[in-house]
Structure formats: C-alpha cells, structure tokens
C-alpha cells in the first residue's frame, strides 16, 4: 500500500510524517522509520516523496486508481 519507505535509505528523520497533508504516517521516534499507519488515507500527492531528503519514499498507485489509456488511432 502507498507510500513505500525504503528502510535501508530512511534515516528516521520524520519529515514525511510531519508534512503529510492527510496524516498517513505515524512518527515512532528517531530510531526507526515512521509507520505507515493509514495507507488508505493517502491522497497520492507526492509531498513525502518530494520532501524526503534521503529519497527513501516511493508511491504505489493502487489498482482502483489505475489510469486508463489506449493507442491513438492513426489517421
């Protein structure tokens, strides 16, 4: 579920938990990565991805939110 924290890269600074507009993360202290406590409340705004200084976060867009597309008709 989104977002995904790369535990190898995360330095547990807690910025993601601090800035998330929908309070998805729970900061659990400077020793371990934040818990993704409310994954279903992710807005997929990318704020955590953009603000993580360690580039430790990525988003996975859930299946119900997949974008629908087709090849363009050639004229």
């Amino acid at each position: 579920m989104p977002p995904i924290i790369n535990k190898e890269k995360c330095n547990s600074c807690g910025i993601c938990a601090e800035i998330c507009p929908t309070d998805v993360f729970k900061f659990v202290g400077k020793k371990e990565p934040p818990e993704i406590k409310y994954p279903e409340e992710c807005w997929h705004c990318n704020a955590c991805v953009l603000d993580c200084k360690q580039s430790a976060i990525s988003l996975r867009i859930p299946l119900p939110q997949m974008m629908l597309y087709v090849e363009t008709k050639k004229k």
Partner: protein, 557 residues
C-alpha cells in the same frame, strides 16, 4: 475526560487553516500590526489543495489585457469559475490580483517563468486569456517562510473544530492538537478569526467505490469552515448549486487545463467544437463548457472520451509536462513513466468526478471579506459568493488579513471565550467520542453520508420527495453518528469531527436544494425542470438564528 490545555491562547487574529488563503491572510494581518496564529490541521508547508503546486493563476494585468477590467470580469464569469458570483467581489479581486502576482514573484514563486506574463490554459479561441501560467511547485513553502518572517506563529497539527460567538461577535475558538496519539484541546481567545479551510470533499461517493481519498482536491478539506460558520450563525450562500471537476480516469487529479490536447471519441473524432490542432496557447476548453461531456458520451454508448495529445509539437508536449509538474501532479507523471503511458502515442481517458464544494458555494462575505458575524472573516475556496480558486484565495486572503487586523486594533481586551457554555458542550462530545470502546468508525459514517448524498441530493435528479426523504435519513444518520461513533486516538477524532462537519454541509445542501424550485446547472429538479429567468440574478442564503433556519433570497451584488 479529554485532555485540555488550561491556558487559553490570546491572539489578535486567529487564522483557521494554512492553505493559500490562510497564509496570505496571516501575512497581511501581521503586516498590519496584528499578532497572528495560523492553526493548521496538517503542516502549512504541504497542506490543502495547493500542497504540491499549481500552475495557473487567474488575474487581470492591465498592460496585457488593456484598460477595461469589466471585459476580464465577464470572461472570468464565462469560464469554469462560473457565474454564481457577486460582480462587486469579482471586480475587487481583479483590481488587486496583479499586486498579489507581484508579491508572489518577489517572494520567490516564479510568476514569469518564461520572462513575460504568459496566459495559457482554460482559453476560448479569439477571447482574452485570464489564467497566468506560473511555477507554483514551491508556493506553500514560500508562503510559510513569508508568514514566519512576518512573525506569524504557526500551530501545525491543530485543526480548529468550533467557533465561539457571543452576541453576534466572534470571541474565540476550540482547537485540538493531534500531533500525539492522545488529543489535546486548545482554547483560543481571539479578536478576529479568519476561516480558510478550503473545499469540502468526501461528501459524495468517490469515483472508485469505497476509495474515499481518491479525490482531485485535498481529501483533508471537509467543509469545516462552512459547518463551523453555519453553527455559529454565519450566512452561507449558493450551497445547493453542485460543482463537479473532471480529469484523468481513475486517478483523480486537478489540472485539466494544463493538458494540451483534443477531447476525442474512440474513433478519433473531436467531441467539442473549439479546437482541432491544439497548442499551448489554446487547448481544448470543451470540458469547461460542456461539463457532462464525459458522462453524456458514456451513457449514450458513444464513449469513452479521451484526451489526445499526440498531435501537439514536442515543444508543447514538454511545456505540458512542465506545467503538470508545477500543477503538483508529479505522482501522476511518475506513474505514467512507470506504466509506459506515453502521451506521444497514447490517449488517456477522462471522466467527470464526484461533486464537491468549492468557491461560489459557501460562506457569504463582503468585499472586506467579513461575514455577517462581527469579527469573523472568510477567504479562499470556502467563500460562497465568489470563486477564483488559488488566485481568489490569495487576493481575498490578503483582504481578510487587513480587515481582521484593523478590527483587532480597535478592540482592547479579550472575552473569556473558554467559559462559554459551548466549550463545555463540545468537550463533552469529544470526550464521549474518545471514551467509547465500541461503535462505528468515522469511515462507516463517511460512507453512509456519501450514499445518502448521492441518492437523494445527487446530480442526476433532485425533487421535493427525494430531498425530503434524504433530509430525514441524513438527520437519522447524524443522530446515530453523534451518539455512537468512536475515535480511539487523535487521528480518528479529527476524522470523526470532519465527518460531522460534512454531515452539516450535507444538511445545508438538502435544505437549500429544496428551496431552489427550478433547474439550474447541475441542480436538476425533476419537479421544476426549467431554469427560471427570474432567479438568474438571485442567490439563496441560509443561516441559523436562535435555533431557527432562515432561508433568504437576495439580488446579485
């Protein structure tokens, strides 16, 4: 009992919500000598619908548009921003809009990324263009810095949940700090309060069933300003007139005018009349004008409708991708890269999203941003008689900040707001919610609300019998929610109170939709199927006075 900070916080101007409107209000209130606190639900650096950016800003620049401001006002009301607005508000906004552009530019938000005032997006062929293209990716960070520079105190993770009004005058507010697992109630004494809580989302079922947070606008924005204002006796306006946005299916995103392409049916035939060869100056405005095009095509079996960007130049494609980044759509762009969605060869399906409350449906203010409650101001997406989205928030936030500071200057002491009976009442409610060990979650309540809104006050059909039934069901739900919902920690308390605010917004929609006995836009009354010209320039307001609901019509100003 829920924990309460026993020391009330005294402040000249309390700003409720640190989005674009709130931060602009705070900066200008501080510039005008007030001590200011912004109470923000999340963190002002990344909160609200402008969290990760925006790339177009409605404005009037005389050197670009010429001397006739009325021409631009007319264009604004013909745009997707719509005509449910007071002309006096539109003119006040336009007069000040360029000053706000210059402020932002001088603070470090690049309003002139290509070296000139560039107007693109949401444009009709052959008509003045009113949306200034800008690089808004850093807007929240820059405005937060400016607020701090001016001495504004920012209380993050502290949503305001109730206003305290005595004798028609606002005197304080209740807030809840949700930073820790256990909520902490904070009480504020304030001389002026500015409401800037944004849009109201999560009222209607989302485009993906049950997936409540798949919204184009920020799902933490839940109409709390409107609900609090109404409970405090403020006037709301235009609440019965639904608004819907459109964008890519199924990833709900704002920014449809940032896309440069042509809306086409599956055979490659354009669905609208405006453009065949799109460019950055002129994309396809069909969806702004023909709001239901995607649904209409789908229902008739002629759909789906796609946006085709394959015929634009590589230069315009790069311009569009740059715009989408600044519009805050980096998650979508990353996803498209990962999935191999290439706009050079793929068409993306678009759809209409669920209704939400945005500007032109909300709190009534005057041109000084004041409500009918003395000392209570509002700005941004929750204003009901005006709409210009992010630019409107910037301009009226600024105005509200000045008005609120001026009022505070004239007042000597503070009222003991914390002793008001309402404080006791609300604290009892919050305590009950957090003490209950069994009962439904906020999520159940939210889903129950959404299905009632959709089935009885939706955008397909409304009628007296449906609305009356829905209103009864909604009130039944409200009673159940208030007496049974449980919130085991501060996060869920915040969400529960959001849903209670949404239910209040829903109730107002039912009451006003019953009163508007005509069909207008997406307010489709099967029992009054025509649009009544006599109501063309009339707006419907609603307020509570001594426990009674007052519905009143007034002329457009």
């Amino acid at each position: 009992m829920i924990e309460i900070d026993q020391n009330p916080i005294e402040v000249d101007v309390l700003v409720v919500g640190g989005g674009i409107g709130g931060l602009m209000a705070a900066i200008n209130a501080a510039k005008n000598g007030a001590r200011v606190i912004v109470a923000e639900k999340a963190n002002t650096k990344r909160s609200g619908s402008g969290a990760t950016g925006n790339d177009h800003f409605t404005c009037y620049i005389p050197e670009v548009h010429g001397p006739d401001i009325n021409l631009i006002a007319k264009e604004l009301m013909n745009s997707l921003l719509g005509s449910y607005q007071d002309i006096s508000m539109v003119i006040t906004f336009l007069e000040q809009s360029f000053d706000r552009v210059k402020d932002w530019h001088s603070w470090g938000i690049n309003m002139k990324p290509h070296g000139f005032w560039e107007f693109t997006g949401h444009a009709y062929p052959g008509r003045p263009r009113i949306f200034l293209k800008y690089e808004g990716y850093n807007q929240k960070e820059v405005l937060t810095e400016q607020a701090k520079k001016h001495g504004v105190r920012i209380e993050n993770h502290t949503p305001i949940t109730e206003l305290i009004v005595e004798n028609g005058e606002v005197v304080g507010a209740i807030g809840i700090n949700i930073k820790n697992e256990k909520p902490l109630v904070k009480l504020f004494r304030a001389k002026s309060i500015i409401l800037t809580t944004g849009t109201a989302n999560r009222l209607y079922p989302p485009i993906s069933p049950g997936w409540i947070f798949n919204t184009a606008f920020c799902p933490s924005n839940t109409g709390s300003g409107r609900a609090m204002a109404y409970r405090a006796g403020a006037k709301l306006i235009n609440m019965e007139l639904p608004n819907t946005h459109a964008g890519p299916k199924y990833l709900a995103r704002c920014g449809k005018a940032t896309w440069i392409g042509v809306y086409k049916d599956p055979h490659g035939k354009p669905v609208g009349p405006f453009v065949e060869k799109p460019s950055k100056e002129l994309g396809d405005i069909t969806a702004d004008v023909w709001n239901s095009v995607f649904t209409d095509y789908h229902k008739s079996g002629k759909g789906p409708v796609y946006i085709d960007c394959t015929e634009i130049s590589e230069e315009d494609l790069q311009y569009m991708l740059w715009g989408l980044r600044h519009e805050g759509n980096t998650a979508m762009l990353n996803y498209m890269d990962e999935e191999g969605i290439d706009l050079r060869r793929h068409m993306v399906e678009f759809m209409k999203y669920e209704p939400n409350l945005i500007g032109s449906r909300g709190i009534e203010i005057d041109t000084n941003a004041e409500t009918n409650i003395r000392g209570l101001y509002a700005a941004g997406d929750e204003v009901g008689n005006f709409r210009a989205d992010i630019a409107g928030a910037a301009a009226f936030g600024w105005i509200a900040g000045k008005s609120a500071a001026e009022r505070a200057k004239g007042l000597r002491g503070f009222h003991d707001a914390e002793n008001n009976e309402l404080v006791k009442e609300r604290i009892t409610l919050y305590t009950e919610l957090t003490k209950r060990t069994k009962g439904p979650s906020w999520k159940e309540a939210n889903l129950a609300l959404q299905q009632i809104m959709n089935d009885y006050a939706g955008i397909t059909v409304r009628s007296e019998t449906l609305l009356k039934a829905g209103l009864k069901y909604l009130r039944d739900l409200k009673k159940k929610v208030l007496t049974t919902i449980m919130a085991e920690n501060s996060h869920n308390l915040m969400r529960s109170l959001e849903v209670i605010d949404l239910i209040d917004c829903g109730e107002i929609i039912f009451l006003t939709a019953l009163e508007r006995k005509e069909t207008r836009g997406l307010h489709v009354r099967s029992d009054f199927p025509f649009t009544n010209p006599l109501l063309q320039d009339k707006f419907l307001t609603i307020r509570q006075e001594k426990g009674h609901i007052k519905l009143e019509w007034r002329d457009r100003k």
